[in-house]
């Protein structure tokens, strides 16, 4: 039953991915007027113009361009960067682990602290702790993540000197170095989503605590901690798990800017560089890549959801 469920979701995701790749392909068509003329300055020679036109594939018919795009996709190719003089897929893949580790760290921070804060608030429902935690969560939701990163740099890196102002140390080189380089960006990125998850977790937990099976657990004379940890929390986690996909999407987007703030050489930094230099193959490839990661994470979330909530497998 679980396998059938997974295949259905996989089919849906495949359709969406085809549309995603189409949208990424169509991005170049949004360039107003003659794309090549926009990209080059007026002084460009006819040879240069022709070369760029060929590099972007604009010398061919739209149909041929599309076939070339999908043909490349089928072979795992996303074309060539106009500036880096290398394959887009290679450049992205090389940087993907960095972005994924940053996003995963931020996600862990957001889920662990967000869930704890939300559950804590629900258990203290109506009390001062509840109000305090929800005030902090709302505040967290209202802070621009990249600005928080800048504030962290001003205070914790430049002011106190506890962390580096930026840069990246691979885990393979030094775990402590990686942790030091990732703490500030991970916190800045994770705190906003923490607010979101905390609010979610609170209302979910309140909902669960009012349900009949919690009263049954009380009637069995189980301890308060057993009721909360074994009965209420697993049920309250169901809606939280479903938003992990959404949160990951937001974190992937946020990481693009945060990588810029902390000079982290990830996918986001590559894409921003490409956006500023109008290196379209990299922009298109980057969009497709991050959307692909998002869809994959959502598939995993669906699977997780089905594991946590046995009722879903029937749906």
């Amino acid at each position: 039953m679980l396998v059938a469920f997974l295949f259905r979701r996989l089919g849906g995701a495949a359709v969406v991915f085809l549309l995603v790749s189409m949208l990424a392909f169509l991005l170049v068509w949004l360039i107003p007027g003659d794309a090549v003329a926009v990209l080059l300055d007026a002084a460009a020679s006819p040879e240069e113009t022709a070369r760029l036109r060929a590099a972007l594939g604009l010398d061919r018919s739209p149909l041929a361009q599309m076939l070339a795009w999908y043909g490349g996709l089928a072979r795992g190719q996303l074309g060539h960067s106009l500036l880096l003089n290398r394959s887009v897929a290679e450049a992205l893949l090389e940087r993907l682990p960095i972005t994924l580790s940053l996003t995963a760290l931020a996600l862990a921070i957001a889920v662990v602290f967000g869930t704890s804060a939300g559950v804590g608030a629900a258990l203290a429902h109506g009390g001062w702790l509840d109000q305090l935690l929800m005030g902090v969560a709302l505040f967290g939701l209202s802070v621009p993540d990249f600005w928080l990163g800048l504030l962290f740099i001003i205070v914790f890196a430049l002011g106190l000197g506890w962390f580096p102002t930026g840069g990246f140390v691979p885990i393979s080189e030094s775990l402590a170095g990686w942790a030091r380089s990732m703490t500030l960006p991970g916190l800045a990125l994770g705190l906003t989503q923490m607010g979101f998850i905390a609010r979610m977790a609170r209302s979910s937990m309140l909902d669960v605590l009012g349900q009949d099976f919690v009263r049954t657990a009380e009637a069995k004379g189980l301890s308060r901690s057993r009721i909360i940890l074994a009965h209420a929390l697993p049920n309250a986690m169901v809606p939280i798990v479903t938003v992990i996909g959404i949160v990951t999407g937001a974190l992937l987007g946020g990481s693009v800017v945060i990588e810029q703030v902390f000079s982290i050489p990830g996918v986001g930094r590559l894409i921003v560089g490409a956006i500023l230099a109008r290196d379209f193959p990299v922009i298109q490839g980057g969009l497709l890549f991050l959307a692909g990661v998002y869809l994959l994470v959502n598939l995993i979330v669906d699977l997780l959801y089905a594991v946590i909530d046995p009722r879903v497998r029937l749906a």
Partner: protein, 283 residues
């Protein structure tokens, strides 16, 4: 089951005024909007003209929030920047509301359009919203109008889903059937009955869209694809301070606080509205 409600009736208003987040958020927002509107009167200096002898001046009696590297008064730039940021937020909200309603209502009401439209929205939502906005803004070229288009593209899919969900609920309610049997045309049914009852969730969503747009404008400007300088926006003031984090951190800190104030006000407003207007999310 959701009860069809008439938003014109005074009951929601009375409940809104009893909602603490709505009132606090509303007052905060009114104050901030007034400050932005009255920028030409309130601003102590010209936001565009700098004083080179007073570059990177720390906050003091002459420049309450200090100056930037051109010697421009930060407070004045913030007040004028608030106009641009709020205008972009408002325009994005309007565009996302119109496009989202059109797409969501079509998908919800015309069964044949539902699948293709919603798959397309799913595809747009697969891109991280901020990245999509950046790519669109960069592709179209840096201008205020293009920033608005980019933010609308990034926020419309979710808005359309909210509208569609409400339409699906309302469509099945008996009173639509009743209207149909009386012989009202399809279009009139859609506009009069369905949309009126979808208004609650839509208003709630659009309040959050406004907040998202203010946050995203700042991020876009920081990356360099926002509204082009020298006209100040919150985002490009922050971007202008990035090389002076050590020598002039006030350039960075002040606009961030302004963004927090506006977004906090909008989020409070949205929470209050949600509690009253959106029955699905009511605890």
């Amino acid at each position: 089951m959701m009860e069809p409600r008439d938003l014109a009736s005074p009951a929601p208003w009375r409940r809104l005024l009893a909602s603490r987040p709505f009132v606090i958020g509303g007052i905060l927002l009114v104050v901030l909007v007034l400050a932005a509107a009255l920028a030409p009167i309130l601003a102590p200096h010209d936001p565009l003209r700098g004083n080179f002898r007073l570059r990177l001046a720390p906050p003091g009696p002459l420049h309450w929030l200090g100056t930037d590297h051109f010697g421009r008064d930060i407070l004045s730039r913030l007040l004028f920047g608030a106009r641009l940021s709020l205008a972009i937020g408002a325009a994005t909200t309007l565009a996302s509301g119109l496009a989202g309603t059109l797409i969501g209502a079509s998908a919800g009401y015309f069964r044949r359009l539902d699948e293709p439209l919603m798959r397309l929205m799913d595809a747009l939502m697969a891109f991280p919203a901020i990245l999509l906005a950046m790519a669109v803004a960069a592709t179209l070229g840096a201008s205020v109008g293009n920033v608005i288009i980019a933010l609308a593209v990034a926020t419309t899919p979710h808005t359309s889903r909210v509208v569609r969900a409400s339409v699906l609920v309302v469509r099945e309610l008996e009173f639509v059937e009743a209207a149909r049997s009386i012989g009202a045309t399809e279009t009139r049914i859609l506009l009069r009955h369905v949309l009126l009852n979808c208004l609650g969730p839509l208003i709630v969503r659009l309040t959050y869209v406004f907040a998202i747009a203010v946050l995203a404008e700042a991020a876009l400007s920081y990356i360099g694809v926002g509204p082009p300088p020298p006209a100040p926006s919150f985002g490009n003031i922050i971007a202008g301070g990035r090389d002076f984090l050590v020598t002039a951190p006030w350039i960075t800190i002040a606009p961030g606080c302004a963004i927090i104030a506006i977004v906090l006000a909008l989020n409070l407003l949205g929470d209050g509205l949600r509690d009253v207007l959106d029955p699905r999310l009511r605890p």
